[in-house]
Amino acid sequence: MRAVDAVMECLKAEGVDVVFGLPGGANLPTYDAFVDGGLRHILVRHEAGGGHAAEGYAKATGRVGVAFATSGPGATNLITPICDAMMDSVPVVFITGQVRTELLGTDGFQEADTIGITMPIVKHSFMIQDPLEIPRAIHEAFFLARSGRPGPVLVDIPQDLSRAEIPYEPVADVRLPGYQPTLEGNQKQIRQAAKALAAAHRPVIYAGGGVVNANASDELVEFATSDRFPVTCTLMGLGAFPAPHPQWLGMLGMHGTRAANYAMDEADLICAVGARFDDRVTGKLSEFAPNAKFIHIDVDPAEISKNIPAHIPIVGDAKHVLAKLLVEYRALSAPTDRLSEWWQRIEGWREKYPLSFEDSTDTEIKPQYMVQALYEATGGDAIITSDVGQHQMWTAQHYDFPKPRRWINSGGLGTMGFGLPAAMGAAVGCPEMTVCCIAGDGSVQMNAQELATCAQEKIPIKVFIMNNGYLGMVRQWQELFWDGRYSHVETGDYPDFVKLAEAYGATGMRFDDKTTLVEDMKRAIATDGPVVVDVKVTREENTYPMIPAGQAAREMVG
């Protein structure tokens, strides 16, 4: 069969049920194979939209997302999603077309050195040089994307090779001698960790996206509740521990809660699970958790001791390690009353500094209230995606995520324009779920073209634009740290999002009254097909509390 037909067979063998992509010259053969390939393909309007949709699909389902693009500009349009997937460890396989082999390196039409350009931002990539390699490369790509620390894998297939006749046999064995992720965790180290936890008087569990990726939420809850360990999650880890919960401190980091940040600051032992001590979490590194010792559990050995030296490093997958840690910890029968003083201290912070905001006294919608209203309208039972900026932080703060894979956002790369296509991918992957995107009025424009895809494919995402007419987070920083000298942050009343939605074939709505917002939102969610809601919110509201960049947790303001 043709190599491209073999690609279809490989994808089906890997359990792929949908591909997001856009055809072009170099992948014409591949698209011909879709005609009889028996695979669902969703035609996106920009390759970046396809890439983020594949990420959203992967984050919502836990399965590998797939995005296709042609050579040259098609492939370069995928750069942002590839880099985003790398930063947030999202399992996605990207398959790009390439010019035919005789044109390689000649600046042929629509030629780009896709492998070279993407090399620093992929987990691995395959440059196909022989059509016989194609099936094995595809299977290896899926194996690499989903195993160990997940990530993006790219397969670049020259057009002429994709047309070659090859014998296809399913590849059952994947041979990667240089790739053996450690999942189990060293038993002695785990025992050490259990004993350190038993000795700690001010412990904190600091959980990140690795817990979600490893499907280790149940293990985390069971371990944390085997004693009264306080738990905080990173932006990527939200939902890994159910909120609200008596042991839940809220998110930590730059816009985290005071309880979480102060607890980190005063902790004597921090148990990091699938988290990587990002600068948005640590603030000033030299003053981060100055009294703490660190247990660091991560499937990626390169993360351990990268930013903060670990006292007890454990290389392993969160699911395996937490299960073993629970057994070891229980065997120690540590006295639970040793944490009473610590909890008194934490409760003190909780009471004194709850997440709050000054609500309006009229009908004006405060952005924080908008998030709370959406929580009420959905009953907390929805997948929420977001773009990047103030609205993202407010959503992370004020929407209580009860389960993992309900909160989908771009954390590491901070990609504006992520939310709408990610919602599209999540809705395709989880058709039974309500999928809402809380977007910024600046961000949403960066991939608004995918509304056409949603309309055509009847993908019923509900996009709530938190519209303050500003690039809000940049405006906030200019206000706080640049003497209020606003420079190019105002977006004004443009575009008219209701008309834009209608032009794309979606339903457009506009809400500006707080008193009816919850009911209005319920109505938007109940409306068939894609819906875009322009929610007018307070224009110059700041996201608080906040640790100013480069400062210590105890210097939180607001």
Partner: protein, 188 residues
């Protein structure tokens, strides 16, 4: 990495006694011997990990091994300037990298090959031949006004030879960079 306390006992672990594993500059030259799959792009992936951190690779050699599927990359980098622990961990993550050894200088035999083109007329040639003899070098080309000498040895020896012949008029010098093999019976 040092961890105190015996894992097998049930004693709680005193937090005061825990010591962190560091990520510091080692202060010495590192010879990294890296076994890789013989595939296109591997060298770029390796070099890229150094480049993105602004690390300077001092020497780099790539060559075949006794298995034609596998190549060996030997590179040297100064651990006094760069914290290489992180980059070594990242190297391990490359799918085509099979094995990395950070060779201890004392347990390693390292050699490089250098070619020196030295200006030398009749009167100087004798002295130059003597120096070459002392360094167990070989004259591989002679013209009326120049000689080419081949020297093999450690980096220190090659540099010593260089300083000896420089006064004659060093026209050109080519060095391969070090290759290294672990001492003793075990594989590198």
């Amino acid at each position: 990495m040092s961890i105190v306390g015996e894992p097998a006992t049930k004693e709680p672990l005193s937090l005061e006694d825990l010591q962190a594993s560091g990520n510091l500059r080692s202060g010495r030259k590192h010879v990294l011997s890296i076994l890789v799959e013989n595939k296109s792009g591997v060298l770029t992936r390796i070099a890229g990990l150094f480049a993105r951190r602004g690390f300077n690779i001092d020497t780099l050699t790539v060559g075949p091994t006794d298995d034609d599927q596998i190549s060996r990359v030997t590179l040297t980098v100064d651990g006094a300037i760069h914290p290489i622990d992180q980059v070594t961990k990242q190297l391990h993550k490359l799918i085509n990298v099979l094995k990395i050894r950070d060779l201890e200088p004392a347990d390693t035999v390292a050699r490089e090959l250098a070619l020196f083109k030295i200006s030398a007329d009749g009167t100087q040639r004798g002295e130059l031949m003597q120096i070459t003899e002392i360094f167990r070098g070989k004259v591989v080309d002679v013209t009326k006004r120049s000689v080419i000498v081949e020297v093999t040895g450690t980096t220190e020896k090659v540099e010593a030879f260089e300083s000896m012949v420089r006064p004659f008029g060093l026209i050109e010098m080519m060095r391969t960079g070090e290759i290294a093999i672990a001492r003793g019976r075990g594989e590198t």
